[in-house]
């Protein structure tokens, strides 16, 4: 067949062409190996290629409302390769540059800087650190415009070496809880405990060594991308934290105490809303240096606040009624070889069980416990175990304190251990333990593990979600619980903690003052604390405030503590008073976050300036809402408020919302972060508006 012959012929021609190409490949192989061989072999020896690590950006730590607690910001160290810039430019501009450097750093004269650079240039030095101080991004931007520097890395020789530094927008607030991590991956707080989540995945890239000992990244070389670290969403309420911090600071400064801490917990969830730890530094300043609320150094003899445990054990174990009486005598009672004293001179005389607790009579509690458990002290210890007070709470932080509780059989147990234990001595627990217990009493007997980190997030996706586990569904019977609550309310209403009475909230709680042991002896130094919850009838927050070794006499017995508790309760009360019924925003939270609504002209200008793509559709309205459409922003006309109607201001900035609302004759009250956007408005959009009516806006 003729067809087949042609096909065969053409196939062979094609085969020959491929054969030719194959020959070319082999020829090139031989050429590279033999004729260019030495060149490439030399290159292999001097290439100086290496994989160098690229650090991943560390994740952020947020407060519960999205405020930034810790973030990484780039800082730069300025170095110069003085030999790169050409002679004429150098001579022309070095004087101006030196002057600018001197003005900027304020540490050397312009002449000194000029001399520094010139001598380095003469010595053919290729790398000169102009100043070890690190500058921020704004300064770097400004500096890039300076003479010589403006020519850039390859013509001007300027090097901005990036270093990431951890930045805390709220400075010292919760600093120890946020924590830190150093280069050896040692540290404290959340930064340390959640390091694995926060640090991300370091990458690497292929670099080539260039003259001057620097490394140049090979752009088309192999590389592993870095993976940004996850973000932490904590439970910290930054406003509450601020109030607690400042209030505690004031109290500590006035009382010249050694340290103090305050923790606020949400009753229903066990979330820690504020946690302050301040300790005295050498120059009589107070700083966040150690987490006394959680850590081992914070575990001390709690004193009277522990009497709640004794009462719980007593009411559970025996059929004692709150109205039963016991004689506390003249306030002195001998247990074996030691005498226990009440604070009140001359003693309380005969007291009911309830009064024993409300007046915090040491003798009364110790006698009651001694009578009930004297024969089987281990039973009492078992109650402590059952309340999870004998082991770490399993908080999401490394370095939690370990309580110290003696067992009846342990060698340290003596015949006076039980009575003293019943009033909070001869044992050690952390303030957080105490708070967790009181929180359980407030939470209908349900004991929750404290929570400080709610979520681990990557961008907007939740990677891990934490819910505190329930340590105990019911710490005691309902009857006992009611009695305990009554007594705790009584302590503030009638008893020792009457200075904690608060105008708006009824507070329930217990104060305590323990004498401190120094070198094995009890001293006059005290450990004042208050732990309680409020509002007493339907508790929402529990809190503990501890002040260690107040020095001024006037501050003894908890006055310092009282002010802090009051301030915290005030803040929460203020928040509650302001709470109203709001219409929730209808917009889903994942719409384009940058642009929600506003004045069209301005938004377009902003988009142009920021390089945000948007649809250029024509709309003949002044007010628009942005909707995300693929990677563009589409515009939707915002309903124009007819006269006498309430405008729709959700998603607008305060500036725009005020303009629209006040134009309608409405009075505006604002809550929340003023730099945010309107998330709720108290009058429905497009309903009739009455001149002079008040509209509340919630910003977020």
């Amino acid at each position: 067949m003729a067809f087949k012959q042609t096909i065969l012929l053409r196939t062979r021609i094609a085969f020959l062409a491929v054969l030719l190409f194959a020959t070319a490949i082999v020829a090139k192989l031989v050429y590279i190996q033999s004729f260019q061989g030495t060149r490439w072999k030399n290159e292999a020896e001097v290439a100086g290629l290496a994989y160098r690590p690229i650090k991943a950006t560390r994740g952020n730590i947020y407060a519960d409302d999205g405020n930034l607690l810790a973030t990484s910001l780039p800082f730069y160290r300025v170095a110069l390769d003085p030999c790169i810039v050409d002679e004429t430019t150098f001579q022309e501009q070095i004087v101006a540059l030196s002057q600018l450097l001197a003005n900027f750093y304020q540490d050397k004269s312009a002449e000194a800087y000029q001399h520094l650079v010139q001598s380095a240039r003469q010595a053919k030095c290729r790398y000169l650190i102009l100043n070890p101080r690190r500058i921020d991004h704004q300064a770097k931007k400004a500096m890039s415009q300076w003479p010589i520097f403006c020519k850039g890395r390859w013509c001007g020789g300027v090097l901005f070496e990036k270093v990431e530094k951890r930045f805390h927008p709220f400075k010292d607030l919760a600093a120890r809880t946020i924590g830190f991590i150093n280069a050896n991956e040692c540290g404290a707080g959340l930064e340390y405990s959640f390091n694995q989540d926060l640090k991300g995945l370091d990458g690497s890239a292929l670099y080539q060594k260039i003259t001057g000992g620097n490394w140049k990244k090979i752009s088309d070389g192999a590389s592993d991308r870095t993976v940004r670290g996850c973000d932490l969403e904590t439970t910290i309420d930054i406003n509450l934290q601020d109030v607690a911090h400042n209030s505690l600071l004031k109290a500590l400064q006035a009382s010249e105490a050694a340290y103090g801490c305050a923790v606020v917990m949400e009753v229903k969830t066990g979330e820690i809303k504020a946690i302050v730890n301040l300790s005295r530094t050498e120059n009589a300043q107070y700083r966040e240096c150690y987490n006394y609320a959680i850590g081992n150094q914070g575990a001390t003899e709690p004193g009277s606040t522990f009497k709640l445990v004794s009462m719980l054990a007593l009411l559970e174990e025996t059929s004692v009624a709150l109205t039963d009486t016991i004689d506390t005598g003249d306030g002195r009672f001998q247990f074996h070889d030691r005498i226990m004293k009440d604070v009140k001179r001359g003693g309380f005389g005969e007291l009911t069980v309830q009064e024993v607790f409300e007046y915090s009579s040491n003798v009364g509690v110790a006698r009651l416990i001694d009578e009930a458990f004297g024969k089987h002290p281990q039973k009492f210890v078992n109650y402590i175990h059952r309340l999870s007070l004998s082991k770490p709470l399993g908080l999401q932080m490394i370095g939690a304190g370990v309580p110290f509780i003696k067992d009846a059989k342990s060698p340290g147990w003596s015949s006076v251990t039980l009575p003293w234990m019943s009033i909070g001595y001869e044992l050690k627990i952390t303030p957080l333990h105490t708070l967790t217990l009181y929180n359980a009493v407030a939470n209908h007997g349900k004991m929750l593990q404290p929570v400080i980190v709610k979520r681990v997030k990557r961008a907007n996706k939740t990677v891990k979600e934490f819910q505190g586990t329930v340590l105990s569904k019911k710490i005691c019977t309902d009857a006992t619980l009611r009695k305990l609550q009554t007594m705790l309310e009584g302590v503030v209403e009638r008893g020792t903690a009457s200075k904690f009475r608060h105008g708006f909230y009824q507070i329930a709680g217990k104060s305590g003052t323990a004498n401190k042991v120094v070198n094995g002896k009890y001293t006059n130094d005290t450990y004042a604390s208050f732990v309680g919850y409020f509002p007493a009838k339907s508790p929402r927050y529990s809190c503990i405030v501890v002040i260690d070794s107040p020095q001024c006499y006037a501050w003894h017995f908890g006055t310092a503590v009282a002010t802090v508790v009051k301030d915290i309760a005030d803040k929460i009360a203020a928040k509650d008073l302001a709470a109203r019924d709001f219409i929730p925003s209808k917009g889903s939270p994942d719409v384009f976050p940058l642009i929600r609504a506003g004045y069209r002209e301005e938004l377009l200008q902003l988009c142009d300036a920021l390089g945000v793509a948007y649809h250029k559709q024509e709309l003949d309205v002044a007010w628009v809402r942005g909707i995300l459409d693929g990677d563009h922003i589409g515009w939707k006309a915002n309903e124009i408020p007819k006269p006498g109607q309430v405008p729709h201001v959700l998603g607008m900035t305060l500036k725009d919302a005020l303009f629209l609302l006040e134009n309608c004759g409405l009075k505006v009250t604002v809550q929340g972060h003023k730099g945010g956007r309107v998330t709720a408005q108290s009058l429905l959009p497009n309903t009739r508006s009455v001149h002079g009516k008040t509209i509340a806006l919630k910003m977020g």
Partner: protein, 401 residues
Amino acid sequence: MAPIDPVRKINQTMKQPINQWLKRHLKGDPFIWAIMLLLTTLSILTVYSAAGALAYRKMQGNTEYYLVKHSLLILSSLGVMWVAHKIDYRYYPGLSKLALWISVPLLFLTWRYGLTLNEASRWLTIPVINKAFQPSDLAQLALIANLANMLAKQQRHIGNFQETLMPMLVWCGVICGLIALTNFSSALLLLLTCMLLMYIGRTPIKYLMMLTAVGIMVGFIAMCAGQRGATALSRLKVFTQDKLPFQTEQAYIAIATGGLYGKGPGNSQQRNFLPHPYSDFIYAVLVEEYGLVGGVVVVLLYLALLYKGIRNVSQSNRAYGGLLSAGLSFALVLQAMVNMGVAVGLGPVTGLPLPFVSMGGTSLLFTGMAVGIILSVSRGDIDESIDELQEQRTTLKNKYK
């Protein structure tokens, strides 16, 4: 020259059970089977070595991960090949037509919604088994098989523009254009292979010129609309410059330090610095480890595969079989030549893998299928029932004429 007939040779020693088993199960040209086994063995060795750097960085040093993964893929590829060679090649026109129609929407989907890797979306994830595959592999296979069929059918009026040329030009344009949107070099190579196949299939040269024009036009559109235009241009620019790109430089170092016999398996240095040493630049690593000798052997293996593939043209009874076999052989071997050409610096850097040697997920399965089809053609007519069907159809046709 007439090589000793390998079938007869095997017959002589077939008393051994292994040979009997082989003869029963591995039909078709035994030479092709042998080439495939050699190439895949070499592939496992080289990939294991070359993927070391990748494994070290990505799998926490678990180098066996890629060894196992690649070996499994090679095995499944051989499996696909075996299945494909069991099927009578006369079933392929229908299958390929179906595949061609499916691949158009798939390619489109990939372009718009595919997985993105190295800034190009070439992968689609198959639901249920959750494996990513490149629809362009399927499209390539389908296009060549169809082209062979169309050419074979129209041999008698090959010069007819309307009937013969138009469909072929349209299909080539559509498929190559769609592939070019995400993978420019693959599309170009496919177009080249199609032109070669049409040339072999006796298409007049003037029409081939026309196809070239279509190609340039489609290419231009794809460059503007697709994702890869800028990359293709920049790579061309880099190639025409005096300074060698980094990859090529590193490949040259690999080749030069390999010497005549190589550094030995697993001793490559350049695998640490070459980008994609396990796929795009595997030939450089291969030469570094097995030397000039190894490099030449690989080139010869591909040439032998091509030779065996086009021998079907003279041996097959039908034009279809010959053209199908030749088209697929050229497609595979041209890609291999381009890959090796890039490694030795004869062309601009492209991301084409070396068929059967490079590590690469599902594309191995499609190359396996291609060789399977070539084997099937080499077996000749297997299924007698097709002939009967054919006869019935002709009689039916005659009956209703």
